[in-house]
Assembly symmetry: D2
Homo-oligomer: 283 residues x 4
C-alpha cells in the first residue's frame, strides 16, 4: 500500500498512539519519567493528579490548596442530576463503573462546566488587564462582553439554593492564607471579587461566588488551564457519585424512576384518536 515498506508501515502503526505521560516495559513503569515505585508511598494523591496532568510535581503548599478544592466539591446531594442518575442506574442493574459513567457523562457544559467557564472569564479579564491589576473599568468591560455573548448567568456567581455558599467562603480563606505564604499571587481572587462587586452594583442583594467560582479562583491561581477546571471538578464529584451509587446498592430497589410511581407525570399531547386504516398493514 502506498509504496511504503513493511518497516515504514510498522513505524506508522507504532506512532499512531503516542504519549508523554507513561512509559512501560516489562517490569518497569515510569510516569512522567519517574519510576512508579518512587511515587507510590511518597506522592500525595493530589500531587499525583498534578503530575499526571502537568508533568511535574507541585510543592506541598500547592498540593494542599488543590486538595481543598477537591474536597469541597465532592457532593451536592440527590437533587443534582448526576447523583440521581448514578442512583437510578444502580437500580437498573448497573455495576459501579456503569453507574459512574452515566452520571459523569452529564457533567457537561451546564452541570459541570461552570468552573471552566468561570476560569475562562477570569483569564479574559487578566488578559485585558495585562501587567496591571484589573481595574473595575476593565472588569466591567469584559463582563459586559461576556453577558452580551453568553447571557446574564455568570458562571461561578450566585446559587439557586444558597444565598451564601459556605464552601466558597471557606475556600477563599484558604486562598488568602496561601497568598500570605507566597504560594499564590492572589490575582485571580482579586479579579473574582471585582466581578462580585460589579454583579452586585444596582442590585438589592449580593450575587456572591459559589463553589464553581471559588474553585475556579484556586485552579487559576495554581496555573491550570480552564479545560482542566472541568476535569478536576469531575475527579472531585466522582467521589460523591461513587458514594451515592454505593449507598443505593446497599438500599436496593429495582428500576427506580425519578419520582414515586404514585406521583403521575403530566401528559400534554393530543387526546386519544384512531389510526387511519393503512394499505398493506399487517393487522
Amino acid at each position: 500500500m502506498s509504496g511504503k515498506t513493511a518497516e515504514e508501515r510498522l513505524e506508522r502503526a507504532s506512532a499512531w498512539w503516542s504519549t508523554s505521560i507513561i512509559d512501560i516495559e516489562p517490569g518497569r513503569i515510569a510516569v512522567r519519567g519517574y519510576p512508579i515505585e518512587q511515587l507510590i508511598g511518597s506522592l500525595r494523591f493530589p500531587e499525583m493528579i498534578w503530575l499526571m496532568l502537568r508533568g511535574e510535581v507541585p510543592s506541598a503548599a500547592q498540593s494542599r490548596l488543590l486538595e481543598a478544592a477537591l474536597v469541597a466539591a465532592v457532593d451536592h446531594g440527590p437533587h443534582a442530576p448526576s447523583i440521581a442518575i448514578a442512583r437510578m442506574a444502580v437500580t437498573c442493574g448497573l455495576p459501579l463503573n456503569g453507574a459512574m459513567a452515566s452520571a459523569i457523562n452529564t457533567l457537561d457544559d451546564v452541570h459541570g462546566g461552570a468552573g471552566q467557564q468561570c476560569m475562562a472569564l477570569l483569564a479574559s479579564i487578566a488578559d485585558a488587564a495585562g501587567a496591571d491589576e484589573a481595574s473595575d473599568a476593565v472588569v466591567g468591560r469584559v463582563l459586559d462582553g461576556f453577558v452580551a455573548a453568553h447571557g446574564k448567568i455568570v458562571p461561578g456567581f450566585g446559587h439557586r439554593w444558597h444565598g451564601v455558599d459556605p464552601r466558597a467562603v471557606r475556600l477563599l480563606e484558604r486562598v488568602r492564607a496561601a497568598e500570605a505564604e507566597g504560594t499564590v499571587s492572589g490575582r485571580y481572587a482579586r479579579i473574582a471579587q471585582a466581578v462580585e462587586r460589579a454583579l452586585q452594583a444596582g442590585k438589592s442583594k449580593p450575587i456572591p461566588m459559589n463553589i464553581d467560582g471559588a474553585t475556579a479562583v484556586i485552579y487559576s491561581e495554581l496555573g491550570f488551564e480552564p479545560a482542566l477546571g472541568r476535569g478536576l471538578f469531575i475527579l472531585s464529584r466522582s467521589v460523591g457519585i461513587l458514594a451515592h451509587a454505593w449507598e443505593q446498592t446497599q438500599q436496593g430497589g429495582r428500576i427506580k424512576g425519578p419520582m414515586s410511581p404514585e406521583i403521575p407525570y403530566r401528559y400534554t399531547g393530543p387526546p386519544l384518536r384512531d389510526l387511519e386504516p393503512r394499505a398493506g398493514a399487517g393487522g
Copy 2:
C-alpha cells in the same frame, strides 16, 4: 521483537481487527457480501437490522413480525429511568448522542434484560422438551429450577402497572397470524402460554405475559439468540429515548433534578457534629 519480521508483525497488526460484517475499499462498501448500493432503497430497515446481526436477509414475513416487536417497545414514559435520564442529561448540556448514551447504558440486566432472560427461560424449556411439545410437567420443572436459581420474579410475566399489557396482547395476535401463514412454528408462543398457566396456578389473579415476554416469544420464534433480545430491545427503546431527549431539548430547563426542588429529599444520616481538630491541618 520476538524475532518476528516486520511483515509478520504487520500481519498481526492487521488481524487484530477482524470482522465478517463489512468490507470496505475506496469507492466500495459491501455488507455481508452485498454492495451497499443494492441494499439502499431495497431493504427495509428491519431487514437491514437482521442482515447485520445474522448475515442473511430475512423473508418479508419474518421482517414484518420483527418490525411489530420493534414498534411495540419504543417507549414507556418518563417514569422509566432510561427516559428520565435522557431528559435530565439534556438539561445538563448534553447533545442527543450523550443523552442517549447515558440512558442506553442503564438498559442493563434489570431495566433492559427481562426479554433476554425470558428468551433464555423459553429456550431452557424447549431444550428440556426436546423434539416434543413442552408438557405442563416439563414447564413446571424448568420453572421451579428457574425460581430456585433466580427468585420469584419471572422475567416476561406480570407488570407492576398494567394488569393486562395491551402490547403483549396485540403482539401475540401477530404471532398467531404468522404461525397461520407458516412464518413461524408457534412453539415458543405455546411454551410461554404454558408458563402463564403455571404461574397462575393457585393464584387469585393471572400474571400474564408483558411486553418483554411477548417480544421474547417473537425473537425466539424468529431464531434470535437470547443475548440479541436485549440488543433488539435497545434498538427499539432508543427511539423513545431520542424522542424524549428531543422533547426536553425543546422544553429547555437547566440541571433538572429528579424532583421539583421544593420536594425535599430525606436525610437519614448522623446529626450535625464537629470535626475533631487534626494535627497538621491547613485550617
Copy 3:
C-alpha cells in the same frame, strides 16, 4: 415551604415531568394519542420513528425515503472509533447495552454531527434564497461565511477514504425518484449540488457529497430539524454498533486494546529521572 398547600406542591411535583409523547394508565398506552395496539402490526418501524419524533404518521412514500437513509448509514467498519469502542468494551466485560452506550456517546460533533451541520448549512442557504431557487451567488456567499466561521472542512462533502461515496450516489437517486413522485420538492438536493459545484470550482478533483451530505439532503427534504439529523444517524449507526459488539462477544477476547500488544506505542516524555526526597513522605 413557600406557603404552598400540599395539593399545590403535589401539582408541581407532577408537572415536573411533562410530555406530549406518551400517555399511560393501567392497561392503556397511547403514543401521540394513538392506542399502542393500533400501531403494532400496522406501522412500519420508520413510521413509528417519525411518529415519535414529530407527532404524526408520515405517508408511505415519506417513510420509504427515510428508510433508505437509515439503511445506508448503519456501518463503516472497525476503523470508525464508535465501532472499535463497542468491540473493545465487550472485551472489558460490558454487556451489549454498556458497549453501545460507550460507543454512541462518541457520535458527537465530529463523529456524528456532520449530517446535522450539513442540514444547518443547507437550511442557511435555503433561508438566504427565500422563495427563490438558491442561485450560485447565494450559495457561494453563504458558503464563504460558513468557511470563515467553521474552517475549510464542509460537513457532508468529501471523504478521506472514498473518492466517490457509493452510498451517496444511490441515496441521491432515491431523492430524485421521490421528487418525480411528488414526495419531496428536491429543493435541498439542488442546493447540495450547488454546494458541490462551488466546492469543486478551481480544484483539480471533485469533492462530492458523502453519506452525511446525502442523508442531510433526505432529512431536510422530509422536514426534519437539523438536530434530528444527528438523532437519526445515531439510530442507524446503532445497528452497526450492536452488530459489531455482538460479533466481538462471539469472538471472545479479554481487555482488547486498540492495537496488537506487540505493536508498541510511542513514548515522547522526559527520560528516566529520580524523584527528589520529600519531607514527610511515607516511604
Copy 4:
C-alpha cells in the same frame, strides 16, 4: 390515588430519595454530619473519599495507606482499552466529561473488576480460616473451589506484561510498614502470599501479585467491602483517563480510529454477491 391524602403522598415523594451522606439547607451543607467548612482545608482528599464511602474519618495512617494504592493504579498506558477509548472519544468531539464516561464505563468485570474479585477471594479464605491464620490447606481448598467456579485466571495474580509488577512490590512494602506501625493486621497480606505460593506450586515460574492483588490486599486490610475495590480503582484510574484525554485534546486529531488507516483490518465474511430482486422494493 389509593386513598392517600396529599400530605401522605408528599411524604412518599420526599422519601423516594433518601440518603445518609449529605444534608443541605440554604447556606448550610453537612457531609456525614460534619459542616463542609470544617472539612475543607482540614481533610486530605483520601480522607474525604473514606468519609464519603464509610461515614467516618480514618486515621492519618489509614489514609496514607489508602493513598499509596490510589497513586499506584492511575495509569497503564494507551494499550489499555479505557485509556485508548478516552483518547478516541476526544477526537470525536467529546468534552472531557464525555470522554471520561465512555472510558470509565469499560472498567467492568474484566477490565476493572480484578481487584474486587481478588478481595472477594481473600475474604472467602479469611472466612474459611475463621479466627485462625489461614493455613496452606485452607488456602488450597478455597482456591480450588474458586478455579472450579471461575476458571484458571486468578484475579490479582500474574500479569501478561510484567513478570514482576513493580507497583505490587512497592505496595506490599507499604503494607508491611503499616503492619509494623499497628495500622493494619497484615492478615490479608499473609493470605495473598499464601495464594502466591499455592499458585506457584509445580510451576516453573512464579505468578506473583499484580497491581490488582496488591491494592486488594490494602483495601481488605483497611476494611473496605469488595465492591468498593472496584470503586476505588475507578477513582484512581480516572486520573489517568483524564490525563490522556487532556493530552489527546492538546494533540488534536479527528475521528481517530484504533489503528493507523493504512493498517487494514481483516475481512472474514462472504465474498461479494448480488441481492436477489425483492418484491415491492423501492429501487
